[in-house]
Symmetry: C3
Subunit: 331 residues, 3 copies
């Protein structure tokens, strides 16, 4: 294993092997496994879980890490090819990325979507261009359309709560004051399909996930014995659900158009999930979310503080999941 | 020992045991004591000493640390219960704190006072609410009303300079352009009382420390054979002083009222301590301050650069004091 | 070795010994050499390479590091002696620097020029005042007039590409939207002279390096058998060049005068280096730059992406060069 960029790059067996390693490292620490090794962490966007869990996980394996945050302690990085750089960015990724990679044994990069060019984001053009600059081991810490570390942690969480392989998994749109990227919904629908689940994407009209995202998930479902469909009908989607994974994202019907996005979401404040939503779900139906989450905006206090919510466990699982990835890349 | 939140949670013997460990770790390093252990550091407010000394101290014990700074690389954290989070904060402490704690073996939190609600700050309501969210070992890195790491370091410093147990200890208000929190004065008056000293709080009218702070210090003095009183008379307070601990804080007579605070301090610029203040003190009277300090505003250059000042030693002692705490919590 | 502040503080033999250690550490890692040791990194200015390479290098030797960035997570530091500190800075370097130094085994400081007082900057007054406050080992991570870590890495890079000792080395001014400091050009001309090279400083009228900088380089050349001269004539300077080291800097004819600087550079946009510049150079002439560099402003894309550019190797060499310095200071 040289790169961890997308769960789709791996077989189901390889993912399960990573989860075996993750669970083993929880039971039997290896505080010297990565002695003398260095993880570089490049954050083009803010972070809490990723920042803390990668540093903590690397340290628990005996390695070290450094953090680079363009715009805070480091100048802005230019990403456009051929740019005449007389603006704010003092350095181009064509220098910055290979240089950072040359200092470390593995580089993690977080680079969110700009929320403008849907086709480019679905193709993950910007991240792919970055990855092409680097020969060393590389980790996707969330790109425009993917978040494989989150998905690996979520898979581990589903296993821990004994969610059956073919159970009904509802990815539900949730309200947010403004458009958020497609990375987590795209990664989640694929992960659940790859795990073999009956996946329903519940979202208002105009918020359908892009066809390429749905097609990729369907291909994964075809191999795993799962299924993938979408719905705008809460009753239909939530009936018999074993898991509801809530997530906020942007108006795909006119992606990048802030005015249309704002108009579309103005009437959707009732997409703040409450206990009522679970009336027709299975009794033990779980509530998942990748965090951060806006309380009483996307999810009601009572849900987050109640027994359905396993969001903290998902967040905790980022650490052992990523430790398994680091172990496979470097040990 | 599971938490280090307040010197008052410990017996005098326990504090002295921490100081024994601190001195031992200075003499005999233990670079493997905390191998594979992780310290999480959450800074809701700026820091220099705390940030550097905790990271350095943890590293000297073989452990590692990570730093999270909401508002700089990480989004703002909401602290209000029941908030409808459609403002700037993207995550609530009810998720953020347990998640961070789950990545580390001990979490340190710095969360200053807002300078508005005196009763709430004296009761340390905000910090207590945070602490209640966390089951793991926890360190108070300065809350609204406490700074136990500073106090432990100060106690060590007093011992090093052979300041007698019952010597006169003057906590003196000092000028500052605006109100500062009560954490250090409150922690300091309690620490000195717990150590058995004759404590005098010297401050202008309107800047008395809250009754609950004084009562807590008096209770500690009752056990240690010390005493605690306050005075607005410099001659009275400083006569025979063995230690003057200077500190800036806000106008408690109308706490949180910026206009009244500004009016009250406008005529108090002569509360910038100078050598003259020490005329009736003991010859070897020491000058302490927790730092940072504004030169020629709170303390004159000549004092800080002269032989009385032991402020750098106080700051240095943060590291071994905190190493002792980490050792007791984790080794 | 107690300090690494200026290549001129060392003999040629000492520099060569550092380079031997650097190459040895690349071949034979020493992941325990600095176990339990701590490097403090104080950044008064932004960084990418220095920040990452020092942390990575220290970690590869088994040590740890902490980062302090005044203005981001830490308050601003006052540097003026005798200041009445009622402005934005909450702490003076007279407290801050010794305190930080007391937590670590070696402190690195980055403090750029203000771009105002040429004489003071050439004398490195500000950095010298900082260094005088610290008794512990100290590293200059770029001051107003020096950047010894860059120079050591550049020397290593020249050796790796087998650039002959007495080859022609052209330090060429390059365009930039605004004045940049003199640290890298001053350090580079001295390093190349100390290595024994035929150094030509190519720059437009009004951008001559200060006399003291040139004199220091000439003194180094006198010992090494090299030479140092300046020229405003590209044809003359570049003919037969083995190395072109491009760098942007300010208008020294009226240093600190932004309006005159802007007027002077307005007509100099053709000082963006292109392949044409190399027509009369040696066939294998190398292009160096310390980075960050603005593409198509200071250097053309085709040059940076072509075979002449060894800028990434220079940047990579920061790490082993600094590891050698840390090893000599602490192991």
């Amino acid at each position: 294993m040289r790169r961890f960029l997308d769960l789709a790059d791996f077989s189901r067996e390889q993912i399960e092997e990573l989860l075996v390693i993750a669970r083993r490292l929880e039971r039997v620490p290896e505080p010297d496994a990565l002695r003398g090794k260095v993880l570089g962490l490049l954050f083009m966007n803010p972070s809490l879980r990723t920042l803390a869990s990668f540093q903590a996980g690397m340290a628990r394996l005996g390695g070290a890490s450094f953090v680079i945050t363009p715009g805070s302690g480091t100048w802005q990085l230019e990403t456009r090819l051929g740019a005449v750089m007389d603006g704010v960015a003092a350095e181009h990724i064509r220098e910055g990325l290979p240089v950072l990679a040359s200092y470390c044994d593995v580089l993690g990069i977080r680079a969110f979507a700009d929320g403008k060019d849907l086709a480019g984001e679905v193709a993950d053009t910007k991240f792919a261009a970055m990855a092409a600059l680097i020969e060393q081991p590389l980790i996707n810490m969330e790109s425009a359309i993917n978040h494989p570390c989150q998905s690996l942690a979520d898979w581990k969480t589903l296993d821990e709560f004994n969610v059956p392989q073919h159970a009904k998994f509802v990815l539900s749109w949730a309200w947010h004051p403004r458009a958020l990227p497609l990375a987590v919904p795209a990664a989640t629908v694929h992960m659940a399909a790859m795990r073999g689940m009956e996946v329903v994407v519940l979202r208002p009209e105009g918020f359908a996930l892009p066809a390429a995202v749905m097609d990729k998930a369907r291909a994964a479902a075809a191999s795993s014995g799962g299924s993938v469909r979408e719905s705008a009908d809460r009753g239909d989607a939530l009936a018999g659900a074993h898991v509801v994974y809530a997530k906020e994202w942007g108006y795909t019907a006119a992606y990048g158009d802030e005015a249309q996005d704002a108009r579309a979401r103005a009437s959707l404040r009732d997409w703040c999930l409450t206990e009522d939503w679970f009336a027709a779900a299975t009794g033990e139906c779980r509530l998942m979310h990748c965090l951060p989450v806006r309380r009483n905006v996307a999810l009601a206090d009572a849900l987050l503080d109640g027994p359905r919510a396993i969001v903290r466990r998902q967040a905790y699982n980022r650490m052992p999941a990523q430790m398994a990835v680091l172990h496979q890349l470097l040990a």
